[in-house]
Amino acid sequence: MTTKYTKDHEWIRVEGEVGTVGITPHAAEQLGDVVFVELPDVGASLKKGDEAAVVESVKAASEVYAPVSGEVVEVNSAIADNPGTVNEAADGAGWFIKLKLSDAGELDGLMDDGAYKEFAANEG
C-alpha cells in the first residue's frame, strides 16, 4: 500500500488497482471548518487533474482534483452527511472517493510522504 500526494494537497492511497482519495490534514486545517461536500457520481470517469469533488468551508468553496485518472467506484457519503469529519480525520474517515486507476504509471508523478511534507512546509 502506497500513499502519494499532489501539489493541490490531495492524497491517494493505493491498494491493488483502487486508490482512495482525500485531502491532507494540512489542507483541511487551511480550509477551516468544512460545512459542505459535493461528491461525484459513482461511475464517473475522471482524468488526472479533473474536478472530482467540491469542499466548502464557512467562507469559501474549493475543488478537490483527481490525483490520477480513473473511474469513481465509491464515494464517501458519510462526509456529505457530516462534513466536519473532513476536519477531524482528513487522512482517514474523511476520504472523498475511491478511484479504479486507469494508468497506475501516473502515480510516479506524485510526491511521496517525505516530499509532500517538505512541499507543504515550504508553501507557507
Binding site: 477551516g32 471548518d33 460545512v35 459542505f36 467540491v54 466548502e56 464557512v58 467562507k59 469559501a60 468553496a61
Partner: protein
C-alpha cells in the same frame, strides 16, 4: 490592492500570540479565525461573548456649529435631531443616489460628531467629507484610536463589571466611559445581531484593554470569518458586496436609514432617483433567501425563476451556523421579492431550490432597556 505593505492594527501581535490565522483584508493583516475555528467562534458570540478587533475601520470627528446639517447634505440621516448620547446608522450617498458607504454617527460627548466608517472605504470617505463640507464642518481622522467590539448575550454582564455606566446604555446610545481606567467612547451597537458594545480607545491602550476583556471566562477572541457569518444571519449588509455605489437605499431595502423628515425635505444626494424609486418602485430589490438543501450559494451566483430565467444575483451567501442551513442575500427583480416566493439559485450550474424569507434570518437580540 496595490503592492503596498499591509497595515497592522495595534492588536496585531496579540492576534498572533493568540494563534490567529492572519489574512489580508481591506489593506490590513487581520485575524480571520483563531484556533477555535469559525463555527465555534460563531456559537461563542451567539451563546456567550466575543471580542473583535475592528481597528481597521475608520474613526473620525466632525466638528463645527453646522456639523450635523453639513453631514446631512451628503447622507441619508436625520442628524440634526441626533441628541447627546445617541447614535444613528446612516448612508453616505452619491449624486446618483447610490450608497458610497454605510456608517455610524454618534454624539457621545460635547466634542461634536463621532463617525465610524468601513475600512475599505475610509480614505475615500474621509477625503470626500472633508472636501465637500469644507467651510461648514471640520473632519479630523482619528487614526490614533483602536476599535474593539464586545458582542454576545454575556457582553452586558462583562460590561457591568468593567464600567457600570457603559452597561446602562441601550441599543444605539453612545457615551464616554472609563474602561479599565482608559477613557473610551462606547456605543451599544455592533455587527452581529447580538447585544454588545463598540469601544474606541487610544491605540496605545488597545492591547491592555483587549487583554483585560479576554481575561473574562465568558469572552473569547473572534475573527473576521465569524464576524461575516454573524452579520449575515442578522441580515446586516456588507459594504462592497450587498450595497455599493450603484445600489440605492430603496433597492437595498434600507429605506429605514432615510427617515421621513429627510424624504419630505428631499434634500439628500440622488434625491431625484431615490424619490422616484419610492413612488414607482425600484428595478431590483435586496432580499433574504434560504436554500432547501445544504449546498451554500456564494456571491455572484445567479438567481433564476422556476422557468430558468435569470432574475437576480447573490451578493452574500454562506452556511448559517446557527441554523445549520445555507442562507443568502440577493438582488432580484421586484416581482420575485415577496416573502415566500420560490426561486432557484444556480450553484456551479446546478439549480438549487430557494425561498425568499424575511430577514434577519436569526432574531436580533438587542438591549433596548
Amino acid at each position: 490592492m496595490s503592492d503596498q505593505a499591509l497595515k497592522r492594527t495595534p492588536l496585531y501581535d496579540l492576534h498572533v500570540a493568540l494563534g490567529a490565522r492572519m489574512v489580508p483584508f481591506a489593506g490590513y493583516e487581520m485575524p480571520v479565525q483563531y484556533p477555535m475555528g469559525i463555527l465555534k467562534e460563531h456559537a461563542q458570540v451567539r451563546e456567550r461573548a466575543g471580542l473583535f478587533d475592528v481597528s481597521h475601520m475608520g474613526q473620525a470627528r466632525l466638528t463645527g456649529d453646522d456639523a450635523a446639517a453639513a453631514l446631512e447634505s451628503v447622507s441619508s440621516g436625520d442628524l440634526q435631531s441626533l441628541e447627546h448620547g445617541q447614535q444613528k446608522y446612516t448612508l453616505l450617498l452619491n449624486g446618483d443616489g447610490g450608497i458610497m458607504d454605510d456608517l455610524m454617527v454618534s454624539r457621545p460627548d460635547e466634542n461634536g460628531l463621532f463617525l465610524v466608517v468601513n475600512a475599505d472605504t475610509k480614505d475615500g470617505d474621509f477625503d470626500y467629507i472633508a472636501k465637500t463640507l469644507e467651510g461648514r464642518a471640520k473632519l479630523d481622522r482619528r487614526d490614533d484610536r483602536a476599535l474593539l467590539a464586545l458582542q454576545g448575550p454575556a457582553a452586558m454582564r462583562v460590561m457591568q463589571a468593567v464600567a457600570p455606566k457603559a452597561a446602562k446604555l441601550t441599543f444605539m446610545q453612545a457615551a464616554r466611559a472609563d474602561i479599565f481606567d482608559v477613557n473610551a467612547i462606547v456605543s451599544r451597537s455592533g455587527y452581529t445581531g447580538e447585544d454588545g458594545f463598540e469601544i474606541s480607545v487610544p491605540a496605545d491602550k488597545a492591547v491592555e484593554v483587549a487583554e483585560k476583556f479576554l481575561s473574562f471566562d465568558d469572552v473569547e477572541p473572534i475573527g473576521l470569518g465569524a464576524r461575516d457569518s454573524l452579520r449575515l444571519e442578522a441580515g446586516l449588509c456588507l459594504y462592497g458586496h450587498d450595497i455599493d455605489n450603484t445600489t440605492s437605499p430603496v433597492e437595498a431595502s434600507l429605506l429605514w436609514a432615510l427617515p421621513k423628515v429627510r424624504r419630505e425635505r428631499g434634500d439628500f444626494p440622488g434625491a431625484e432617483r431615490i424619490l422616484k424609486e419610492i413612488a414607482d418602485g425600484p428595478t431590483r430589490k435586496r432580499v433574504g433567501l434560504k436554500l432547501a438543501d445544504r449546498a451554500p450559494a456564494r456571491e455572484g451566483a445567479d438567481v433564476a425563476d422556476k422557468d430558468g430565467n435569470i432574475i437576480g444575483v447573490v451578493t452574500s451567501g454562506s452556511l448559517a451556523p446557527t441554523l445549520g442551513e445555507p442562507i443568502a442575500m440577493a438582488y432580484v427583480t421586484p416581482d420575485f421579492a415577496k416573502t415566500g416566493t420560490e426561486l432557484d439559485i444556480l450553484v456551479r450550474g446546478k439549480a438549487r431550490a430557494a425561498e425568499v424569507v424575511k430577514t434577519p434570518f436569526v432574531p436580533q437580540n438587542y438591549y433596548r432597556g
